[in-house]
């Protein structure tokens, strides 16, 4: 794949979300892998791939621009800069003849937004009912959850910033809900 081709994510962030208490930015193109590995093979597969697969659901490991989140007992979500990936993907493909596992490139399935600001939990909670206090949702935690009716993957980047990603076709819905909330507050 040529790195010159920029994939149009077809999502607009309205101006009202780009400033204020919470600043929303569209995350550029990323590579995303969905990795399924039996728990018993987790350590062996991670070693062969040269990565760390966190054992506990909700935990992440971020190293050299690649974020790996454990979403389920046998499911990991890997996301980061696209240049770093083809190697990892190909290695995992080869390994899948040896272990009961699968790797799927889901790069274009999702789009992500990053939300930053002191009131960030408030805007996430508009659509997501999780407890976002630091005790219940510490920095680094990542989970699949919902934003109103859209399934999302929510990752806390710092005390006051989250990355939120959803399937691409749900993005106008997700961004629309955020927009309606902010518009309502500024009337």
């Amino acid at each position: 794949m040529s790195s010159d081709i920029v994939f149009d994510q077809a999502v607009e962030i309205p101006d009202i979300l780009k400033s204020g208490d919470v600043v929303t930015t569209l995350v550029g193109e990323r590579t995303r892998l969905s990795l399924r590995v039996k728990a018993a093979d987790r350590i062996a597969v991670a070693k062969a791939l040269g990565i760390t697969l966190p054992a506990k659901i909700g935990k992440t490991n971020t190293k050299a621009g690649i974020m790996i989140a454990c979403l389920g007992p046998d499911e990991w979500f890997i996301v980061g800069e696209k240049a770093k990936y083809s190697n990892l993907y190909n290695k995992a493909l080869k390994l899948s003849s040896k272990y009961v596992m699968s790797v799927t490139d889901v790069s274009f399935r999702n789009v992500a937004v990053e939300l930053t600001g002191p009131k960030v939990a408030e805007i996430v909670n508009v659509g997501c009912p999780l407890d976002l206090s630091l005790a219940a949702f510490p920095v680094g935690k990542c989970t699949r959850t919902v934003y109103e009716a859209a399934p999302i993957i929510l990752h806390r980047l710092s005390e006051d910033s989250f990355a939120m990603e959803c399937w691409r076709s749900y993005a106008p819905y997700m961004v629309g809900l955020m927009t309606a909330h902010v518009q309502g507050q500024r009337v």
Binding site: I57, G72, T145
Partner: protein
Amino acid sequence: MMLIHCPYCDEKRPEIEFAYAGEAHIVRPNAAEQQAMDDVEWSKFMFIRDNKRGEHCERWWHANGCNMYFNAVRNTVTDKFIKSYKIGQKRPSAAQIQKWKDQANG
């Protein structure tokens, strides 16, 4: 909104992340057993449930979470979840359910 404990996430999570998946501990007949079953027996397996009033062992799916199925004992009268447990664990006895309730009541 209720909070439901997922035994895989080991967290209480909002109800809307979950989907109900019917009565638990119903063993699917294997292929040979299915061949030997007549339509009445098959329809009993497929459709007939206890529809219990009270403490009910049932399946739940953490669809918008860890994506795992698990079982839970829930009181169908009060809607109170008594305990969630992983797939593979045996159906809890009445004594076990009582013990869980006593523990919950401290």
